[in-house]
């Protein structure tokens, strides 16, 4: 007997679907008993499920409610109290049915088909066990900005040993390059330098500067990271940072740390508070004259230093790789002009220890500007660059405008904006005083900056006066938008983290799990997740530390064995699965081939490649998926089956629902862990059963959570299309669409396209 529990979700489902009709309908079905309730996730709802499992001795359960991304965990735990926690299947009748189908009759019919599919699958569910594995208590933090530093201190306070891997020559990140920080206007270094010192001296924190993580293997609780440390050409154990070398080095080149606002030698340290406090030779600018070697009393110069590779074994990983600014050169902003600079460059001019010792001097001639102009939303909220708001630039521009105005009351300061976004504690008050100080806020988005000799003409409309203006300025600061840093973007390939359409790393759930990623034991903090102020980076870091402390609190963690299984009777030991498994999870040494449960990541790609069908992924077995197709098509023959990857396409479909987009009721989603799990058989079978079309909603290319599942699926789809052509069905009725988990509209467009093709 299968118990079907249907949720009204208040009006959320009840308003769009005739729930009682569903209950009545399924109660008539043999071997099925159905119940409905107002809120299935509530205590009452959960008790109902538990009671009925016991009372009726149910074999398995179907939960027809919201997306499993929401309350999947709650239901699993609830059911787990009374039977095996995996003996249930869900039917997503809210996001993927009620919310995308305006017509109540059609929505009800669609819900029937979805639930019917779930029932058929539920009939084949089996018990799935768990196992315990040991964990390593060490933590790896990638990126030593404010988020990474704060997380490292929190974790070491909790007793964890931390390895901090930082790409640059010093930790500190962007914040330690600023003059002051909003909303308090306290000096960045006064806040930053104690932190730097704490991290540097903490015995539980090991810092690897000039280093990058190149590969991560292993599993939650025991990840093995490969780190490559670039040569410093200075022996870190000997250098005393006396600076004798820098004084004598004959080279002068633009300093990257000062964002080309100042110069440096070929051997240098970026700042007096650098951690580690060691000099470094930058090889591209070094002319190998030997001067530093001669003057260094410590004998620290190592011209023949070489890159070093090593491995770190850690239980959990924090990604705090931060942001960069969007590149606005060769645009209407003319960033190539020396007197057009970015907000970050202005910070370097403002820093007392910076290249101009804190004086605002324009780069072209070192003169103090008379009219300083800030351009807001440069590269943000703009479809040509980033569609999102960078969130902090209204505040950081206002901060610097205020500071400069206070020191230079005679300076004319204008700030051109679209909307001032100063939401946050103390922020609006901060903005109020700026206007009172005489800073001009002009509402208009700058169209172009026209170089006029050393000066600039800024074309902007005073939108309140309905008048285009040409404002002459002698220094223009672009409040340049934020993008994920290169390091952040690389995390997609190095540890297969999923990112959003904005390229920032995506948490499993923006609202309820903002620092967790889809990879257990890997967390994100700070601006690698999205643009945010320092305060929020610190909040993230604290939360990450807490999440890790919870995750690693015991010597062992429990892992669910939703893994692949090999049937030794059918296995011909061809090795295809082992060759294909990117996690090396298949052991081929013993008498039989065996899946290493702790290594298996449950993508199911192996079951697609096995020639004899000997290997199958639990919870998504070949037969379970086939029966689910049967169930759906038995209820609604001319459906279009949408195999949706749980990492991306499934979420996109949910988002389409949240946005109340319209999707044809013919579209029926079948969840798969990865598009690479879908076999040719799954692609073709629905057509035998009368389906109108089939599509796969897969991750963007290069962003597959399981590395290459979507590419494998692409190949399979191409083959299956040929078969469909031969069969006379038409290969065009089978398609694959790539989308990220944040791209609801892409799912809608894919569904629409399929309906057009298949009608």
């Amino acid at each position: 007997m299968i118990g079907v529990f249907i949720c009204f979700c208040g009006n959320n489902i009840g308003g769009y679907v005739h729930v009682p009709e569903l209950t009545e309908y399924f109660n008539k079905k043999e071997g099925v008993i159905a119940f409905d309730t107002m809120f299935l996730c509530s205590e009452i709802g959960q008790n109902l499920i538990k009671e009925k499992i016991e009372e009726l001795n149910l074999d398995s359960v179907v939960i027809a409610s919201c997306s499993p991304k929401h309350h999947g965990g709650i239901f699993q735990a609830c059911i787990g109290e009374k039977m095996n926690q995996f003996k249930w299947e869900f039917a997503n009748i809210r996001e993927q049915c009620a919310w995308v189908t305006p017509n109540k009759e059609e929505a009800t019919e669609k819900a029937k088909a979805i639930i019917n599919g779930a029932i058929e699958k539920a009939k084949l569910l089996t018990d799935i066990g768990t196992t315990k594995v040991s964990v390593t208590k060490d933590v790896l933090i990638i990126g030593g900005g404010i988020a990474g530093m704060h997380a490292s201190l929190e974790l070491s306070d909790k007793g964890f040993h931390v390895n901090m891997v930082e790409k640059k020559e010093t930790i500190g990140g962007n914040m330690v390059r600023f003059d002051r920080i909003f909303p308090t206007d306290d000096c960045a270094m006064c806040t930053g330098s104690p932190l730097l010192a704490d991290v540097a001296m903490n015995p539980l924190i090991d810092i690897f500067s000039l280093s990058e993580v190149t590969e991560v293997k292993g599993r939650a609780g025991e990840y093995i990271a490969t780190v490559v440390k670039k040569p410093r050409y200075v022996d870190e154990t000997k250098c005393t940072a006396c600076g004798e070398c820098t004084t004598h080095c004959p080279v002068e080149v633009w300093s990257e740390w000062d964002l080309e606002m100042g110069l440096r030698a070929a051997i240098y340290k970026p700042m007096a508070q650098a951690v580690p406090l060691k000099n470094r030779i930058e090889r591209d600018s070094c002319i190998r004259c030997g001067t530093c070697e001669n003057v260094c009393k410590a004998g620290a110069i190592m011209y023949d230093d070489e890159p070093r590779e090593f491995k770190l074994t850690v239980g959990a990983i924090v990604v705090a790789t931060g942001y960069d600014l969007v590149d606005l050169s060769n645009t209407e902003y003319h960033l190539e002009h020396p007197n057009v600079i970015t907000g970050l460059q202005l910070e370097r001019l403002k820093v007392p220890s910076g290249p101009t010792e804190g004086e605002i001097l324009r780069p072209s001639d070192g003169k103090k500007p008379k009219h300083l102009l800030f351009v807001q939303c440069a590269g943000s909220r703009d479809r040509r660059h980033n569609v999102y708001c960078s969130k902090i630039c209204c505040m950081y521009a206002t901060k610097n405008a205020r500071l400069i105005k206070a020191e230079n009351p005679e300076m004319d300061i204008t700030l051109c904006y679209i909307d001032m976004r100063t939401a946050g504690r103390g922020y609006e008050e901060f903005f109020d005083t700026a206007r009172e100080m005489g800073i001009k806020y002009l509402r208009g988005n700058v169209s172009e900056i026209v170089p006029d000799g050393e000066d600039l003409i800024v074309r902007v409309e005073d939108t309140f006066a309905n008048e285009p203006k040409a404002i002459k300025a002698d220094l223009v600061v672009l409040s340049t938008g934020l993008i994920p840093s290169q390091g952040t973007r690389d995390m997609g390939t190095i540890i297969h983290l999923v990112s959003g359409a904005d390229n920032f790393l995506a948490p499993v759930h923006v609202k309820i799990a903002p620092v967790d990623t889809a990879n257990k034991g890997i967390y994100i903090a700070g601006t690698s997740e999205s643009p945010k102020p320092i305060q929020e980076c610190i909040t993230d870091a604290g939360m990450v530390a807490s999440r890790i402390a919870t995750f690693l609190k015991d010597p062992e963690i429990e892992i669910e064995l939703v893994t692949s299984k090999i049937n030794p009777e059918v296995c011909i030991k061809c090795g295809t699965c082992a060759d294909n498994c990117v996690y090396d999870a298949i052991e081929t040494t013993g008498e039989f081939y065996k899946v290493l449960d702790v290594s298996c990541q449950s993508c199911g790609k192996c079951s697609v490649t096995c020639p004899t069908g000997a290997i199958d992924l639990s919870l998504y077995t070949e037969d379970q998926i086939t029966r689910q197709i049967d169930g759906i098509l038995a209820s609604d023959r001319d459906s279009i089956i949408a195999f949706s990857c749980y990492q991306c396409g499934y979420n996109a479909a949910d988002l389409a629902g949240t946005a109340k987009a319209k999707i044809s009721p013919k579209i029926k989603v079948i969840r798969v862990p990865c598009s690479g799990r879908v076999t040719m058989q799954h692609m073709l079978y629905p057509f035998y059963k009368g389906a109108k079309g089939v599509f796969l909603a897969a991750c963007l290319e290069g962003q597959c959570h399981y590395i290459d599942g979507n590419l494998q699926a692409k190949e399979k789809v191409a083959l299956a299309k040929k078969s469909l052509d031969i069969m006379g069905v038409g290969g065009h009725k089978l398609n694959l669409f790539n989308m990220s988990s944040a791209e609801g509209p892409k799912f809608v467009a894919a569904a629409k396209r399929m309906v057009e093709i298949c009608q």
């Binding site: 169209s447 902007v460 309905n466």
Partner: protein
């Protein structure tokens, strides 16, 4: 409801194709408009009024846009501003606008009758022959059959009727 796509209600749909609903009124368009610097055209304001469904058929500024596409190219929200102006002109012509310039009508008539907006003059014929070009180009204007077909096509399209009917009566 009327079938005429240029009736204000239907016309709103046409403008929505130009994505005017995405406009945030940031003013980037007006700020970079070369015509706006020298005349009364205010593209941001036009988009705003169009969003509100205001009838712009009599606005003379519609005819100051040089269609340089600066605004459209740079619009951060992807509004097809220049296309919107072109639609607004199309509508103004149909709905009895009194502002469209007389020389445009001359050009339209010249195209219908001669195949070129700027027809060939005897002086230029002479220059052409001096520099070794055929006196008359081998084009539609100088081929009777093609020109006849062309005139027929333009009449089928009915553009001349639009401009001769300045008061918008059908």
């Amino acid at each position: 409801m009327s079938e005429d796509p240029y009736e204000i209600e239907q016309f709103k749909k046409i403008l929505e194709d130009s994505k005017i609903l995405s406009c945030v009124q940031c003013g980037k368009c007006t700020a970079g408009c070369p015509a706006g610097r020298q005349s009364r055209i205010r593209i941001r304001e036009l988009i705003h009024l169009a969003q509100d469904g205001v009838d712009l058929k009599d606005d003379p500024s519609l005819w100051y846009c040089t269609t340089c596409y600066n605004c459209q190219e740079r619009c951060p929200k992807g509004v097809d501003t220049t296309e919107a102006v072109i639609y607004l002109r199309n509508r103004a012509v149909r709905k009895g606008d009194h502002n469209f310039p007389p020389l445009h009508v001359t050009a339209i008539k010249s195209l219908r009758d001669k195949g070129d907006g700027f027809p060939l003059s005897p002086e230029v014929e002479k220059i052409r022959s001096i520099i070794g070009l055929p006196i008359r180009p081998d084009d539609l204007a100088h081929d009777e059959k093609y020109l006849k077909d062309f005139t027929k096509l333009i009449d089928e399209l009915g553009i001349l009727k639009l401009v001769e009917n300045k008061d918008g009566e059908q």
